[in-house]
Amino acid sequence: MIIEVHNLTKTLTSGSHRVEILRGIDLTVQKREVIAIEGPSGSGKSTLLALLAGFDSPTTGSIRLEGEEITDMDEDELALLRGRKLGFVFQSYNLIPTLTAEENVMLPIELRGDSSPALERARELLNAVGLRERFSHYPAQLSGGEQQRVALARAFAGSPAILLADEPTGNLDSVTGKTVLDLLLGLNRKEGTTLVLVTHDAALSRLADRIIRLRDGKIVDELVPGASAANVSSDAF
């Protein structure tokens, strides 16, 4: 197992107001598997992804990535872990506006401290996503689709074992979205990465090995696309 999540909860407090965002999630993901997490707004998809990435700490429960428990790690340990094991693609691209496309892609490698192959690797990946002519462009000089392709290249730059993607085509038109998706899956196959996708897009979900459905902070459904619905955890119904 590359990802093991056990009894994960997350509760937020604002004044006297308590919000339960995740209410006991159990999940396992195999190496090289492609998982799609679906659910309506406020169902806890993005929070689950943020917890998997170690961006935030859960209220209770455990998360193990490649056997390593991450919930008791401090901020720097988590940062190092992300640098070694995780890659990200965000809906809003999240490129650093003051850096060129090439410099953005080099970042994960440089942050790890091995700067020598960074430039070659960045250019190789930018070539792979079709941005050969855009190495020195700043994000503001690129279209949305191009920015997301830079983000894809950056996500794979550090050769992560796990790639977490949050609505990667959410901000793109259907044609551009399709191109980005093809690139994402192509790179995923080539690099042998485990992919966890959060999406609203049914077309995108269908390409996954497994679909997890969330509602009100709980897993309500787990399906394998193409096969008939195989309810794994249906206590919500």
């Binding site: 872990l81 942050l111 700067s115």
Partner: protein, 847 residues
């Protein structure tokens, strides 16, 4: 071959590149502060060096002894002992006198310096115009005088000038004399006269006030400087000022050092305003970079790595700003000396001082880093989850609870205060002054910050103005990242400081004059001999315009010997009080309590007088620790005078007067030779004619016109204020830069707002008016806060330290506020140029 740069530096540089304009303002703010500190410190160091280089010229001798009265026989023996050991000596005498030019209408007060032109100066040169050899030009029948004398008296070279009883030919214009720096500030233009000429003039008589200097040239061998100094010091018992070529003018060097330290602190103020600007701008910058920081963290960046990235950016600002500041400091060093002209004569050749440059560089970098600390440490709190969940609700705590939970802000504040305290102490060369500076600054900042917060809060509750521009302008003050409170503090400090200087400068003397009663003396007569006394008062009775001729006040010069049987060595006095003890006092007597004084202890005497009694001024009583009942012993000539202290008097210092510290009961000083002074009230139009008439009849009597002297003092005050304002200007400029920096930091937001307003149908001029309204409000607010603080500071300074009253002045406050507003609008307009030029589509597409 290039060495690979650490990743953090590379990334820092990549971030600086596109944001250079934002950085530029911070760099300028730091440069201004460092420039003022380096310039003034450098000037002071360079001056010290220049003085050391031409030290012998600056005292015109190897060693010089200066005293405020004629030496006693015993003292003469000490001085002569050096001559016996091979030294050469020449004597100079400086005194005040009246002078008139034949055919001229005016009689003017002059500073007369008598020298022996065949010996004086031992070093350096007296420069004359037309060029002439000094000893040829100055004879027993001639004088040389400064250009100011010629202008004020209407004389020309060749004119006949009367000084005292004698007439002289004005031989040349005095351009410079080598030891001029030793004389300090004077009341009248300078006239050099030969010693024989001085005798002929009859100016120096018993009881005359004159400064005597003995200039020595030491032999090539046989008498070392140290030995000569030792002999003089031991023999003259600290009553005199001894200077030598190693420290030509200790009082002046100390004065200069103190002034340089004070002005450097004003410069440091400018630097701190700059530092504050760097802190707030970096804070805004970091706030705008929160997303990038979160992205870096999500990609595996550790807090320490990211802090280093921004630290390098800060260092870039600090180093570049400080280096530019050092360059600016050299410019200040060139501009500064002309400002001091008239306050002191400075050596002409000043060279750059690398020590001050290094100090400035370090202070600039450290200040930047100190102010960077809070925003840098805040980076630790940025959560990577921000990339996913920007609007995620968080748990909110009160400020106190937050502080209990996280002490970083508190620790930052302590480090900042300590750091600035150490810098201030370094600049001021004193821990005490550093601490005082910090305390004063903290009070000013707290007052300004509280004022700014209150004002911003009050503005939030202002009823909605009808004008769209004003309404939006008010709202914009609270724009995120605007740091309006910091901008108001920065601008306010500069305004407050400059206006305080102005208010003190323009209030001090007018206030003193205003407080003086209508019948107060405005003309003083000095140097009246016993023989002339009755004739002078008889003459005065016949003169028009004299409202009150007063009584002749007797003066007996004497030296204090013992207090309660103990001499200066046994009294354990501070060095400055010891010098005061050793000075010459003018003793007087009176049956009545002198006008303008009141008793603070003891009783005034009534006849019959029980033994010799003395009333002591509280100034002398405080310095010499004299109390009622103490016995005092003076020596006048060869005669010992004793008295028991009957009372302590407080003298009203605002009133000009003779202010004798020791007043005896009638009869004690009888039989001693005395000179007399007079204090008269003369109707203003009659003052000048009276001075001329008096001079024609009694040429050895010096008359001081209080109005003229106050004018001279005001001139001096104006010059000092001018110098302080020059340095304070840097603080204002820093404030302006911070405003500009804050505007540039929020430029993107402003552009977006402008575009949105345009999209909604606003015209270009409407948007421009909205922005102008915001800057107007900022300027007015900073002006009001700064001006009020300045009025409070002036009230404190005048009321508590200078013992006068301050009355609130509307005009400077209104003008100051309006000027600040105009400055803010101009700065705002310049810094936000181009914001209105963007097409809506460019900005909307970016979103």
């Amino acid at each position: 071959m290039f060495l690979p740069m650490p990743f953090e530096i590379r990334l820092a540089w990549r971030e600086i590149r596109p944001a250079f304009k934002k950085f530029l303002f911070m760099i300028i703010a730091i440069a201004l502060g460092v420039g003022s500190v380096t310039g003034i410190k450098g000037f002071s160091v360079a001056l010290d060096r220049a003085m050391a280089r031409s030290a012998r010229d600056l005292i015109a001798a190897d060693i010089a002894v200066r005293m405020n009265s004629s030496p006693t026989d015993k003292e003469m023996q000490v001085l002569d002992s050096l001559v016996r050991r091979g030294a050469q000596v020449t004597r100079t005498t400086e005194t005040l006198s009246m002078a008139s030019v034949s055919g001229g209408q005016r009689t003017i007060l002059v500073t007369v310096k008598a020298v022996d032109p065949n010996l004086y100066p031992y070093y350096g040169k007296v420069e004359l115009e037309p060029d002439a050899v000094f000893c040829d030009a100055l004879t027993d029948d001639s004088v040389v005088a400064s250009r100011e004398f010629l202008i004020r008296s209407g004389a020309g070279v060749g004119s006949s000038v009367q000084i005292g009883f004698a007439r002289f030919r004005l031989a040349a214009v005095l351009k410079s004399e080598p030891d001029r720096i030793s004389s300090g500030v004077e009341l009248g233009p300078r006239v050099l006269i030969a010693r024989k000429g001085l005798e002929r003039s009859g100016l120096i008589q018993y009881g005359s006030r004159a400064t005597e200097s003995f200039l020595f040239r030491l032999p090539a061998r046989g008498l070392e400087l140290e030995t000569a100094r030792g002999i003089l010091k031991a023999g003259l018992q600290g009553r005199v000022r001894i200077s030598d070529y190693r420290d030509p003018n200790p009082a002046l060097s100390q004065g200069l050092e103190r002034m340089a330290n004070f002005l450097s602190l004003v410069g440091l103020l400018a630097l701190l305003v700059g530092g504050l600007g760097v802190g707030t701008t970096i804070h805004t910058y970091v706030q705008q970079k929160l997303d990038s920081i979160a992205i870096l963290k999500s990609l595996g960046g550790r807090s320490s790595q990211i802090i280093r990235i921004y630290l390098f950016q800060g260092l870039f600002i600090g180093v570049l700003g400080s280096a530019l500041g050092v360059a600016l400091g050299y410019v200040v060093q060139i501009v500064f000396p002309p400002l001091l002209r008239g306050l002191m004569d400075l050596p002409t050749q000043l060279e750059p001082a690398p020590g001050a440059a290094v100090q400035g560089l370090l202070i600039g970098i450290v200040t930047t880093l100190l102010f960077l600390l809070p925003p840098l440490l805040a980076i630790r709190k940025v959560r990577p989850a921000r990339v996913f969940l920007r609007e995620m609700p968080e748990t909110h705590y009160s400020t106190l609870r937050r502080l209990r939970h996280d002490r970083t802000p508190l620790i930052c504040a302590v480090i900042l205060l300590l750091g600035i305290g150490i810098l201030a102490s370094w600049v001021a060369d004193s821990w005490r002054r550093g601490a005082l500076f910090i305390a004063g600054l903290a009070v000013a900042i707290l007052a300004l910050a509280a004022g700014a917060k209150l004002l911003l809060r009050a503005l939030r509750h202002v009823p909605r103005p009808n004008s769209l521009a004003l309404r939006h302008g008010l709202k914009n003050l609270n724009r995120p990242g605007n740091h309006m409170a910091s901008v108001l503090v920065a601008l306010g400090i500069g305004v407050a400081f400059s206006l305080t200087v102005y208010l003190v400068q323009t209030s001090l003397l007018p206030q003193i004059i205003k407080n003086a009663p209508a019948d107060y003396p405005n003309v003083f007569l000095l140097g009246i001999t016993e023989l002339d006394r009755d004739a002078v008062w008889g003459f005065l009775r016949g003169q028009p315009g004299i409202e009150n001729a007063g009584k002749p006040i007797p003066m007996v010069p004497a030296r204090l010997q013992k207090i309660e049987g103990r001499n200066a060595d046994q009294l354990n006095l501070e060095p400055s009080d010891r010098r005061f003890f050793n000075g010459e006092f003018m003793l007087t007597w009176s049956s009545d309590l002198p006008p303008g004084t009141r008793l603070t202890a003891g009783r005034w005497w009534t006849p019959p007088y029980e033994g010799p009694l003395v009333s002591v001024g509280d100034f002398a009583a405080r310095r010499l620790k004299i109390g009622v009942g103490n016995s005092l012993e003076f020596l006048s000539g060869e005669k010992v005078i004793r008295g028991k202290v009957a009372s302590i008097r407080e003298t009203d210092f605002e009133r000009p007067g003779t202010n004798n510290q020791f007043v005896f009961s009638p009869g004690v000083l009888e039989g001693l030779p005395a000179s007399y002074v007079g204090s008269l009230r003369v109707a203003r139009p009659h003052v000048v004619p009276l001075q001329s008439a008096l001079f024609a009849r009694f040429p050895n009597v010096t008359s001081l016109d209080v109005g003229q002297i106050l004018g001279k003092v005001q001139e001096l005050l104006d010059k000092i204020a001018h110098v302080i304002r020059f340095v304070a200007f840097f603080a204002i400029l820093s404030g302006v830069i911070i405003l500009a920096s804050s505007i540039v930091a929020t430029r993107y937001q402003r552009t977006r707002e402008a575009v949105l307003l345009k999209t909604l149908g606003a015209t270009r001029s409407q948007v421009a008016r909205i922005q102008a309204a915001e800057f107007l409000i900022v300027g007015l607010a900073a002006g009001v806060i700064g001006c009020l603080l300045a009025s409070a500071a002036a009230d404190y300074l005048l009321g508590h330290l200078l013992d006068t009253k301050f009355s609130f002045q509307w005009i400077p406050v209104i003008v100051g506020t309006l000027c600040t507003a105009a400055l803010a609008i101009a700065t705002g307009w310049l810094a936000s140029r181009g914001v209105l030029n963007h097409k809506p589509l460019e900005i909307l597409r970016e979103n």
